[in-house]
């Protein structure tokens, strides 16, 4: 049993890492550079100094939120592709409240207000596909993709037409709710975008873990994701749970917006999400839909991203993008749980469909049985 657990949980990431290194070596060589030197530069530019660490932490902060968002969705058997727009909506919500509150608002209330606004805005963007799914059986993948277009276009319109500072794509700076950078406490982080929202996000990770594994809502949410039929049998209200899962998922993605808006720039800028929502899917898969795994995966992808910048003078940034793809493939291929998740998300439809299996789906189909 112990051998199996080891082989299933520890080895796959190590193998995936090995595949990434070798694939990276080959790509670097193909580009005519020395792999050793490139990897060294990558390491120095990320974990080699306080600035690099700060940048990694900054990027990981957003990715953790979008990763958690996707992970919570997948735990409920729902594939939320909308984290990108939920993240943008959250950032926008935080910026709006930050702009509306007077500068004299006590700091703690201002931050709480902005953070709540981020969560609510993201939750709103997530609730729509949830309700459409629960009420009409509309496929959440399609709805969340459509929501990306709608929400991003709407935000773009609002910013471009109503709120932007001339000749820019961003809103005015918030007056209240800004979070200080790490460099305000540790001078070594000077220049890096890392800020105290990472503490808030660490608390969110803990909260997500508690929600998933310690509350009745989480118990029911995971049940719906694993076996909707059994959850229904267990008295779980499927439609309500689906709506709740996507709403919570949206709120988590929205919370990622505070990192940029409250912690980094102090304003909402069109396009700030920059793919972090989509990368959240990879983070969730690699993190195996576990909050702690998501945190680790977010740090890993953030390292790749920041490292890609550091080695950008040597190899084109597409190399890092290829490596991201390799990570996802390697993990998807090596972790049975991920394969199952993907299959479930792709194949199992719940909600409006008839859960009755045809004919004799009895003991004869014992999955684990070898008799």
């Amino acid at each position: 049993m112990r051998r199996t657990a080891f082989a299933e949980s520890v080895l796959p990431p190590i193998v995936a890492l090995g595949i990434i290194l070798v694939a990276g070596d080959l790509l670097i060589l193909a580009y005519g550079e020395a792999p050793g030197a490139v990897w060294r530069t990558l390491a120095e530019g990320t974990w080699g100094n306080a600035y690099g660490i700060g940048q990694v932490l900054y990027k990981a902060t957003t990715l953790t939120c979008t990763g958690l968002a996707v992970a919570i969705g997948l735990r409920a058997g729902l594939f939320n592709i909308g984290a990108e727009s939920q993240l943008a909506a959250g950032g926008f919500g935080a910026a709006l409240v930050g702009m509306a509150l007077p500068a004299s608002t006590p700091w703690i209330f201002a931050v709480a207000g902005c953070v709540a606004a981020a969560a609510i805005a993201g939750a709103g963007a997530g609730a729509v596909p949830g309700v459409l799914r629960a009420k009409f059986g509309a496929h959440e993948v399609i709805v969340t993709i459509m929501m990306n277009f709608i929400v991003l276009a709407l935000l773009n319109y609002i910013v471009a037409a109503r709120l932007h500072v001339p000749e820019t794509l961003h809103t005015p700076t918030i007056q209240a709710g800004a979070l200080p950078r790490l460099s305000s406490a540790f001078a070594a982080f000077h220049g890096s975008a890392a800020n105290w929202s990472l503490l808030i996000v660490l608390a969110i990770v803990a909260g997500a873990w508690w929600y998933l594994f310690r509350t009745r809502a989480g118990f029911e949410l995971r049940a719906v994701g694993l076996q909707p039929g059994a959850a229904e049998y267990g008295g779980v209200d499927l439609p309500r749970t689906l709506v709740r899962a996507l709403t919570v998922s949206g709120a988590l993605a929205g919370l990622g917006g505070i990192n940029f808006v409250l912690g980094y720039k102090g304003y909402y800028e069109d396009g700030f999400a920059g793919g972090a929502g989509f990368l959240g899917i990879a983070v969730a898969l690699v993190g195996r839909n576990h909050p702690v795994g998501v945190l680790v995966a977010a740090l890993f992808f953030a390292t790749l991203s920041q490292g890609g910048l550091a080695i950008n003078a040597m190899v084109p940034k597409q190399m890092v993008e290829v490596l991201q793809g390799v990570v996802i493939l390697a993990v998807a291929a090596s972790v049975p749980e991920v394969r199952r998740t993907v299959r479930q998300a792709a194949g199992r439809r719940i909600g409006k469909t008839d859960p009755t299996p045809p004919g004799n789906a009895g003991a004869a189909t014992t999955p684990g049985s070898v008799g």
């Binding site: 009755t356 009895g362 004869a364 014992t366 070898v370």
Partner: protein
Amino acid sequence: MTAPARTPVPAVRMTGIVKRFGAVLANRDAGIEVAQGEIHALVGENGAGKSTLMKILSGMQPADAGRVEVGGRDVTGWTTAQAIAAGVGMVHQHFMLVPTLTVAENVVLGREPVSVGTFDRARAVRDVEELSKQSGLVVHPERLVADLSVGEAQRVEILKTLYRGARILLLDEPTAVLSPPEVAELWGVLRRVRVAGTTIVLITHKLDEVMNVTERITVMRHGETVARMATSETTPEGIARAMVGRDVRLGGGAPASAGAAAAKPAGEGLAVHNLMVRGARVEKAVNDISFSIAPGEILGIAGVEGNGQTELLEAMAGLRPVTAGSIAIGGRDVTGASVRARGDAGLSHIPEDRHNRGLILEYSVADNLILGLQHRYVKGASLDRAAIEANAAKQIAEFDIRPANPSLAVRALSGGNQQKVVIARELSRDFAALIAAQPTRGVDVGAIEFIHDALRRARDAGKAILLVSAELREVLDLSDRVAVMYGGRLVVTLPRSGANEDVLGPYMTGARREVA
């Protein structure tokens, strides 16, 4: 081992077979020897390694070690194609037929008769008719497979195997989906086929079948071959002992406890009135059913699967909407109530499909033991883990769930222990009425005894119990009254004393009906 082999060279001889799936040892030193032209039973509990052994024989999986001989020839490690060519054919539990093709087309699929480069349909029909006559497997060759009953579909499967020239026929639990007359017919066919020289291996865990039709028996337990015996020299108890490794009490005991019947409290435990339910494909899957079960009574519903039992059970449990009619628990109407509200009103439910309904396989034993009761295990904003653990410890001890590890995922348990988790949960909650659907399906002999006792105890404690089972024996063993469901209706309801297999059989096939 006293039964003499009819020919010196056995049809099949497998020795020292080892097969590993990851950490699971499915076969270890397993073996079987089948003489030419005999009907041989391969028995064992679920998970004993029977199917694995037969899959190795039919070339679907390679063995990790050991030797496979067919007709004296070493064929270890052969492929399915080679196995078919050598005349080894397997009839699976799950039919592998194309529903949109005719019987004849299905039978010849892959070996179509050809004339002038095109498919010779007329010859296919002729061939199949001929084969059908020889073997006694009667199916009209030009009917669509989609229109066939389960029993007929199975005949087509066997025909298909024979058409490919099978001399050794492997049948995996062939009676699981058949009604008693269909079972009787199948035995007739197998005997005829055997007379024609075909060797038959029957994988089963039903001991009456073994006693009825086979000549010799190989018993497997935990992946190992533990006994070989001649049917004529053993008893069901002897076989069961070999399967389980200890003494097992088989069958009824006291059919319906006379004492309980006498002390039956008055009133309505569980009742439905004029219930109509729509199915996935059928408009009236449940067609105007009414019955009432008194506290301390078990009403058993027998019938071939697919006659509306599933829809009836789901409607009663709140998992499927009702078109018309009403459902009441203890006299209280719950027709429109949610699953949870029904549970709180005193309904307990052992679902027919524990893998899709009754258990969350990835969840721990402890978590599964509160499924449906999670709202009662809340402390503040979170689940009360301490209470959940305490409940698990109690149930595991009381119902002897093994291994006794509350944090183990239920997936890792054997079928019998999985079902014990369901039973433990449903029988230990506070309930007045119980729906028990296929309570012992896929459960090994030892656990069946335990589950039946538990149901009787519940009955004696004054619970109203609806038992639905495809196993007629089980219905007869446990019920105070027996009903038969056919085509969405209860076609007959009899007191236990008036029911037996011969009486019920015609109702189960729809040959007889009377307004219940």
